[in-house]
């Protein structure tokens, strides 16, 4: 388990490899679909310093507001692959050290991770209540009016946020490995002629 304190350096990232667990602590920023288009629409100076050396968390939280301010109620990751057309440029333009999301990303992002010293941290999809426990403070929020709660950019302090490195800065992607092997199994299933139905104990 790598215990990482944000912001991260190039060396911090290059020390990570696919399959390793991390515990992340420090300030990160949430951003998903609308945020990516916005970040690339112009240089957003108001968030640039927050993003440099930090991580963009693909997350649209459930929040609540009290006299004490905003808090995160549920905050698991959203599917990252939708940001594949944009992420490489966001990483490059804002000096991100990576993203947190789920489902992994494609070759363009993988190349950007290698080129700019960044990593893909996989959180567990649907682990919303548990992950919200590691969000200790909501510092501020950008574009809340324009994008609404799920798509706004929330600046949050996390403590011991657990994730798995599934794409590293050395050009490796766990997702590619799994896909290749499942593709082989799928091809077998598609080609195997139907065997005689057999009784089995497996419940559908």
């Amino acid at each position: 388990m790598h215990e990482l304190q944000l912001p991260l350096s190039d060396a911090d990232i290059r020390a990570l490899h696919v399959g390793e667990e991390v515990s992340l602590s420090g300030t990160i920023v949430t951003g998903r679909d609308a945020a990516h288009t916005w970040l690339l629409g112009a240089r957003r100076t108001e968030v640039a310093d927050l993003l440099r050396g930090s991580l963009l968390y693909h997350c649209g939280p459930v929040v609540s507001k009290s006299a004490a301010g905003w808090s995160f109620v549920a905050a698991g990751p959203t599917t990252s692959i939708r940001e594949e057309p944009y992420e490489a440029e966001v990483i490059k333009n804002y000096g991100l050290r990576g993203v947190i999301g789920k489902g992994g990303m494609g070759p363009k992002t993988l190349a950007a991770l290698q080129a700019h010293g960044a990593a893909y941290f996989h959180a567990i999809g649907g682990l919303a209540t548990l992950i919200a426990q590691s969000v200790h403070r909501v510092r501020q929020v950008f574009m809340l009016e324009e994008f609404g709660v799920p798509e706004a950019l929330w600046v949050i302090d996390v403590q011991d946020f657990r994730a798995l490195v599934t794409m590293d800065a050395h050009g490796h992607s766990w997702h590619d490995t799994i896909r290749e092997s499942s593709e082989g199994m799928a091809q077998q299933l598609l080609q195997t002629p139907r065997k005689k139905p057999q009784e089995n104990s497996v419940r559908p």
Partner: protein, 295 residues
């Protein structure tokens, strides 16, 4: 004619239904995840993921906070007695939805597709989506499903024949489509998933049939022997793909497969596949007079 609906208590009952759906997973779904966790080797990534998922389910129930932050698209199937106003029920469901957002049981999830503006209260055009049926009983039954966007995005529809898969217009062809769909989904839909399959219908009713399958209890056995066999075969085959929990690899790629059919036109043969994430959130309310029971 039916007795006038007690609006306030009905709205409160729907609110509680939403709370249960979002924060307290059905017992059969949780049990399926528990069994799957036991099947994955100790210390494997798949086992760790499923154990954390079980921990999250328990904590969400205890705190009454959403299991998943994507509280999804809310779809309702309402069955009611003759004479009960549909508009009244729909309005009360919308009011309960707004209240559920205020109480953080639901995320404001309705985005105007034309302007990009979030309505802020989860209510909008066809959102929540309510379908109505009539029955002979005096009670109102409300079934609610919360389906997250990640799993909806990997749901799919095939038109047979499909030459690239070698899939013809028969159950063998259906099998091939489902294998292809689940393989393409990888971990993106929050595997391990529940697979609802609709054979036939049109592009709307086929998917409706697929989604209806997701309401079936996991222990429910298909009354058609050919579909019962296909469900068992697909369950076995899909779990050989090795995609595993979250797509990290493992023995558990799907937790259930349910299949139904609808009449099609001679020209069309659709196979509709509704992929539901592990957080299979569906709950039922039975409201009679002022009494509400939940399943």
């Amino acid at each position: 004619m039916t007795a006038p609906l007690q609006e306030k208590s009905f709205q409160q009952a729907v609110l509680h239904l939403i709370r249960l759906a979002s924060t307290d997973l059905s017992a059969d779904v949780e049990e399926a995840i528990r069994q799957a966790a036991g099947n994955e080797p100790v210390d494997s990534t798949g086992r760790k993921v499923l154990d954390l998922i079980l921990e999250n389910i328990a904590l969400a129930r205890k705190q009454a906070t959403p299991i998943c932050q994507d509280t999804g698209a809310c779809s309702y199937q309402v069955t009611l007695p003759m004479g009960q106003s549909l508009r009244q029920v729909e309005r009360l469901i919308q009011e309960a939805t707004r209240e559920a957002v205020k109480k953080s049981f639901l995320r404001p999830n309705a985005v105007d597709a034309i302007t990009g503006t979030n309505s802020g209260d989860n209510v909008g055009t066809l959102s929540p989506y309510v379908t109505f049926h009539e029955w002979d009983r005096a009670a109102i039954q409300v079934k609610l499903m919360l389906k997250g966007g990640g799993s909806e995005n990997v749901s799919s529809q095939y038109s047979l024949p499909q030459a690239s898969l070698g899939a013809g217009r028969d159950l063998e062809g259906v099998h091939k489509c489902v294998v292809d769909a689940v393989n393409r989904a990888q971990g993106q839909g929050c595997a391990p998933g529940f697979i609802g399959v609709g054979i036939g219908g049109d592009r709307v009713t086929g998917m409706l049939m697929a989604k209806k399958q997701l309401f079936r209890p996991l222990a429910d056995v298909n009354e058609l022997p050919v579909l019962r066999d296909l469900e068992a075969r697909l369950f076995r085959d899909l779990n050989t793909l090795g995609i595993g929990p979250m797509g990290f690899g493992g023995k558990t790629t799907v937790l259930g497969v349910k299949i139904g059919g609808a009449h099609r036109t001679p020209a069309s043969f659709f196979v509709s596949i509704a992929y539901m994430c592990w957080a299979d959130r569906r709950r039922t309310l039975l409201f009679s007079g002022e009494e509400a029971t939940y399943a």
